[in-house]
Amino acid sequence: MDHLGRIGFSEEQADLLEVAENFCRERSPMEKVRTLLEDDAGYDTAVWEEIAKLGWLGIAIPEEFGGAGLSLAEAVPVIEAMGRYLLAGPFIPTTLAAQLLCDGGSDAQKAAWLQKIAGGAIATLALSEPDGRWDDTEIAATAVKNADGYRLSGVKTFVGDAAQAEIILVSVKLDDAPALMLVEKSALPETALRRETIIDETRRSYELTLDGVTAPASALMDQDRAAMALERLRLAATLLGTAEMVGGNRAVIDYTIDYLTTRKQFGKTIGSYQALKHPTVDAYTMFEQARSHLYAAAHCFNEQGTGEIATRMAKAQAEKSLSYAADRAIQFHGGFGFTYECDAHLYRRRAIWHASQFGDAAWQKEKLAALLF
């Protein structure tokens, strides 16, 4: 069918993939990952500054705002590499917030923030609500206009890295229509943020209570574009989450193979047993399929129709593939797999996390059915 995706791979992507792989391998060895699990912020600010200097935060920001003027397709290999080495930090929320600003910000907001973000300012999104919707068909949080600007209310969940962010882009209902507000973190009362306990301990997520929060008139983003920008944003988040999963998928297979080629039982290297060998092959072929889907989605992301199909397929496949590989990784590590010390669960938790955000495989497939049939 002609509206399905194809793979293309630019030189920029190839370069970024190589550089990012090397960077992440060096900056995020497993001991570091483990240490950061216990850290409040959850990431290394020095590494974050390096990332900013490398220009990765500006990959998909237009050149006029200090970015590289490329697209999300070029962010994909970077995030894939981060996923592979479990490099922690607010790269995904910040990249997504920049996209949302590009798509739905006012000119003043773009001018004020995009360059800062390209330079390392952390930004994030507050879209989710306690009802757990995976789309924006209904938004319970509200903004009400008053003399000074807007009075906000409602609760937002799963706000990534909010404690470190300078700005939070918040979806609300305003005059019965969806709207986006650029809220500066400094304007929030101390109690507005509560750290959530989430399954993926490599990341940080917060609940944001908007009641009592006010925002100036300038906080309102372009309301005419809000619905469209939100829709695009959710798809972008789906793509970037997929990239992270695919990276992790590769890592967990390598990690399993390492064990299978060194551990012995009954006098034989356990990787020689077909009971472990063959499911590992299945995990591997599923991974290769997921990676192919990822690069098709990246390549076609901006094509009307095709981009959505390719992205949803990629996420469905990546979630299935990573879940399977990490589940088997725990099992195949035997008693050690059942300990916190074994890394397999880090990947399994990550798959559960991504399934929970922006629609899991089953939900993507329902959307796909509607798009394909």
Binding site: F338, Y340, I352
Partner: protein
């Protein structure tokens, strides 16, 4: 069963039902473990010890063990009825799993009069917690290759080495222990012996191991010149492998004698039906989704299968081809079912599946995610599913080992 016995059984059963209705504890205000493998706080430990003692005192645990050792001296059907009643009312698990299910039956079958008197009653009352020392760090699946040394020295054995995945190792008073007594034995198996070893002697130390769930639940146990009485030996030197295999048969359900009750919260697929009824995914009620309904039916059919297989296992004419088939497959079928069930349950919770234990927004406090991660304890422990498939293939289907 005679008419009188049947009447007695039905009265016993009704009494048990009434007792559990009245005595099954409600929410204690902290999370209760789903299995004996998951006890990670003193609070949980004490609560579960008290519960076990209480059930035993009421006569609903060990009902079929001999009365001289603290049991009820009744036929097995009575215990089964009590267990059923407990299950019906959703009582907490019993934590002395190794004692009730492994050491106890073994003592009943092979123990001396003295050993029975010494140990059995305290197993039932949860006075003495038992643990198991089979696996070693380098020999998780290959039990026959156990290297922990037990050297005879006068009236004692001196133990050196280490055991791993010791559930309740920090609470246990006794360990059933597989150790190497003969280094020059004709085969690796023949050099093994089986001990009922005290945990409270000098030279035994436990180090807690953090589980995949993030909680603590079992230990590595180190033996450094630990000296135990020679009469801790079960059977003769060199019989260790045989005895260990026998205890594994208790676990795999291929052999009776267990004290009763249950040590894992019995998951049937209906346990997630309530979750499904009360959950939304992506903002929509879960049960409105035909794809989820279909998968839920799959799980209910499979869960029902397992219960029915238990029932059929007791009907001899329906087990003629492969008489041990159902009992030897039991562990494999259940543990894999529970793993997949819990994994599926997470997906029912939609976006909230991203939360974990301790999060106020989590569905049922993250129970299902934790249960999924914990489920590997059962697909790995007590012989991995891969080993179980070998066992079924070789011992039930007659497929060649090599």
């Amino acid at each position: 069963m005679s008419g009188a016995e049947e009447k007695a059984l039905s009265e016993f059963s009704a009494d048990a039902d009434k007792w559990f209705a009245e005595n099954t504890p409600g929410d204690p205000g902290f999370m209760l473990p789903l299995s004996f493998l998951e006890v990670s706080t003193d609070q949980q430990f004490e609560f579960l010890c008290n519960w076990q003692r209480k059930v035993w005192e009421a006569g609903y645990l060990g009902a079929a063990w001999p009365s001289e050792y603290g049991g009820g001296g009744l036929p097995q059907e009575f215990q089964d009825a009590a267990t059923k009643a407990m299950r019906r009312h959703g009582g907490p698990v019993f934590l002395n799993a190794i004692g009730l299910g492994w050491a106890g039956p073994l003592l009943l079958e092979m123990g001396t009069q003295e050993q029975k008197s010494q140990y059995l009653k305290n197993i039932l009352s949860a006075e003495d917690i038992w643990c198991q020392g089979f696996s070693e760090p380098d020999n998780g699946s290959d039990l026959g290759n156990a290297q922990l040394k037990a050297e005879r020295d006068g009236d004692s054995y001196v133990l050196n080495g280490s055991k791993i995945w010791t559930t309740l190792g920090n609470y246990a008073k006794h360990m059933i222990l597989l150790a190497r007594t003969g280094s020059d034995a004709p085969s690796k198996y023949a050099g093994l012996s089986f001990f009922l070893s005290p945990m409270t002697v000098d030279g035994v130390e436990t180090r807690p191991i953090r589980k995949v769930t993030g909680e603590f639940g079992f230990t590595q146990t180190f033996f450094t010149d630990a000296r135990i009485p020679a009469d801790c030996l079960m059977g003769e030197e060199g019989q260790g492998w045989l005895i260990a295999m026998r205890t594994l048969e208790y676990e795999r359900g291929a052999r009776g004698g267990q004290a009763g009750g249950y040590v894992l919260t019995p998951f049937d697929a209906f346990s997630i039906l309530d979750l499904a009824k009360n959950s939304t995914r992506g903002g929509k009620p879960v049960l409105d989704d035909p794809v989820i309904r279909d998968r839920l039916v799959d799980f209910i059919i499979e869960g029902q299968s397992l219960g029915l297989c238990d029932q059929r296992g007791r009907i001899a004419p329906l087990n003629q081809d492969r008489p041990a088939g159902l009992s030897l497959s039991n562990k494999l079928m259940w543990t894999e079912f529970v793993r997949r069930l819990c994994e599926f349950a997470i997906t029912l919770t939609g976006e909230k599946g991203g939360y974990y234990v301790g999060e106020e927004n989590a569905v049922e406090d993250g129970l299902w995610t934790r249960a999924y991660l914990n489920s590997f304890g059962a697909t790995i422990g007590g012989g991995t599913s891969e080993i179980q498939r070998n066992i079924v293939a070789e011992h039930v289907l007659g497929l060649p080992k090599k």
